[in-house]
Amino acid sequence: MVLLVQYTLIFASVLMLVALGGCFSEHSGVINIGLEGIMVMGALGGALMMKFIDPSAAPVLIFLATALASIVCGVLYSLLLAVAAINFKADQTLVGTAMNLLGTAAATVIVKAVNTAENPDNVSSSIQYIETKKAFITNIGSFEFNWFMAVALIALIASVIILYRTRFGLRLMACGEHPQAADSVGINVYKMRYAGVLISGLLGGLGGIVYITAGVSEWKFEHGVAGFGFLALAVMIFGQWKPQRIALTALLFGLFRALSNVYTGFDVLMALNLPSSVYNMLPYIISLLVLAFTSKKSRAPKAEGIPYDKGQR
């Protein structure tokens, strides 16, 4: 049971971070389908940092360095979307899809290059971080508290305050609702959209590293992040683009995702004798059903997905 709670919380943290990232980007008016790719890149940055940092360094240092590496990679990678969508008015769905493919391909190429450089016989696309991973975790009884859970909580509180209580957040949201109107009162729409996308890069990158360190001590980058970025998008939509609701949804989805990791620990579930694929499918089925019942009264930002053109009326 403790294990279930633990996995639920950590997966919910990932979903929350990434969905909040998507929330910022979409409120500024840019659809970010590329979150999956951003997660992969963030995960790559963090994993490489964990691989090369001295495991005997202070845990706080390891934690901060890893988080920072992920953030930097995520933000840099999200620039690809920002430039294409904001400056070149490209199709945001297409660019996002390309970023997802590019993220996995690039990460695989980079990891393999790093691995073969170390040892010519090693052509795997995995990175191990057994030792350094311990820096993130503090045991409270049998519960493994991961510091990233705290980070996710902070991100949640910060998002609520920034979006609804600051000038910046309100302006950001105006750009996603009616950019022409925002522009007419002197808000620089391009700048705001850049901010939105880059914040999504920051949170997406963080989410990536948390995801790959959640249950395992080694990650195979060929698999990317297995659709988790898209799950986060579903969380965001079900959360109606509102941070508080996103948090609750993330907990729900996290629970279902956690079940696939720990269902073997429950006699009731084992007795059902279902193949493990069923548990793997579960989060996606739930999210599809949930979307079917909630999308009708969607509160999506009005101008999302539409490139801003100053001359348009």
Partner: protein, 375 residues
């Protein structure tokens, strides 16, 4: 006298698309080359040449011909997947679910072949139905519940993958996670060669799938450009409220589009797995890349069914070429990297076209001014 100003050749939409696509390819290759240079400067040029050469890697003509056939065998399903993406995109839907519909096609065709011992045409049909159904779910969700088709397609990709893994676990080999070969399980389910294998130095995987795929491309072009149905579908894509106002059944059109689109992707799966060239791995943990590469091919082909034939071949050509790279220095995924960069660059095609037209406008204006000055 002809008063119409002569239209510059450069203004034709087709040529502009071609130029934009070639630009994307060149830039994609260039970025790939730079990545290779960073990884290991010694063999970078050689590696990029290997990727481009693909089957020409073999010095003997016979072997090259055989592997040319192999590339074509994989290009056929890719073409069908890209047609699937293209068809939906023309109707304003982004079918990122081609991968899932493809997986559904794999499941249906192999299950019919191996568990039910059906002949190949039934398997092919089953694959199309399965893919179509998968598409219909996304289409219906979009039409009736306003679910964004991108998200629902992605969820269905994963659901489809795991479901097919469960389904095909029933017909897998005892000792491996792979499904039974068609040769051993049900030779009747193999697509007929129709003598095409002779053309490629007895490459027995070259089958009916090739002409079928090309035929499908032509058919898609005819439907979209020459029929009432195609016109209605495109009108719905441009503005579904206007289409409704004109008396078109916009909900039906959306669903129908996804069904056709899904059937194309499902057919792609049958055209690949019923040749017997590969077995399905029931432990597969990621959605096959075929559907996503289809997106690349569709956009690279300038969203034209005929252009897609060439772009699909090209994408498969470099993907196959990637496997010949010297693995002691680089990895085969470099070709995935190149093709994903190409997709990314395809996002800029519109920008390229707009700036090309702007350049032409300027030139014309200058020419006009000169003429005016003389007169």
């Amino acid at each position: 006298m002809n008063n119409e100003p002569k239209k510059s050749l450069l203004r034709s939409n087709g040529l502009q698309s071609l130029i934009a696509s070639l630009l994307c390819i060149l830039l994609g290759l260039f970025v790939g080359y730079i990545v290779l240079l960073i990884i290991n400067p010694v063999g970078a040029w050689e590696a990029i040449v290997t990727v481009m050469k693909n089957f020409l890697y073999y010095p003997s003509e016979a072997a090259a011909l055989k592997y040319f056939g192999s590339t074509l065998v994989k290009a056929a399903p890719l073409l069908l997947c890209s047609l699937s993406v293209l068809f939906a995109y023309k109707v304003g839907l982004f079918n990122i679910g081609a991968a899932g519909q493809y997986v559904a096609g794999v499941g249906a065709s192999l299950y019919c072949a191996l568990a039910l011992n059906m002949p190949w045409y039934v398997c092919l049909f089953a694959a199309m139905v399965a893919g179509g159904l998968m598409g219909a779910i996304s289409g219906a969700l979009k039409a009736y519940q306003n679910v964004n088709e991108v998200i629902s397609c992605i969820m269905l990709n994963w659901i489809g993958l795991y479901a097919v893994n469960i389904l095909l676990s029933g017909v897998k080999e005892e000792t491996s996670p792979y499904t039974i070969t068609l040769k051993a399980g049900n030779p009747n389910a193999q697509l007929p060669n129709m003598g095409l294998d002779q053309l490629f130095n007895n490459n027995k995987y070259v089958t009916l799938a090739l002409p079928l795929a090309v035929l499908a491309a032509i058919l898609v072009w005819v439907i979209l450009e020459k029929t009432k149905l195609g016109y209605e579908l495109k009108a719905t894509g441009l503005n579904k409220d206007a289409a409704k106002y004109c008396g078109m059944r916009e909900k039906r059109n959306i669903i129908l589009t996804m069904v056709i689109s899904g059937a194309l992707a499902g057919m792609g799966a049958a055209c690949f797995y019923l040749t017997g060239v590969e077995q399905w791995n029931c432990m597969q943990a990621s959605v096959p890349a075929m559907g996503f590469n289809g997106i690349a091919a569709a956009f690279l082909g300038g969203l034209n069914p005929i252009g897609t034939i060439f772009s699909s071949y090209f994408i498969q050509h470099i993907t196959s070429g990637g496997s010949y790279i010297d693995t002691s220095m680089y990895c085969a995924q470099i070709s995935d990297l190149i093709s994903s960069i190409i997709i990314y660059l395809c996002g800029f095609v519109l920008f390229v076209k707009v700036s090309m037209n702007r350049g032409l406008d300027k030139r014309d204006e200058k020419a006009k001014a000169k003429k005016g000055g003389k007169a």
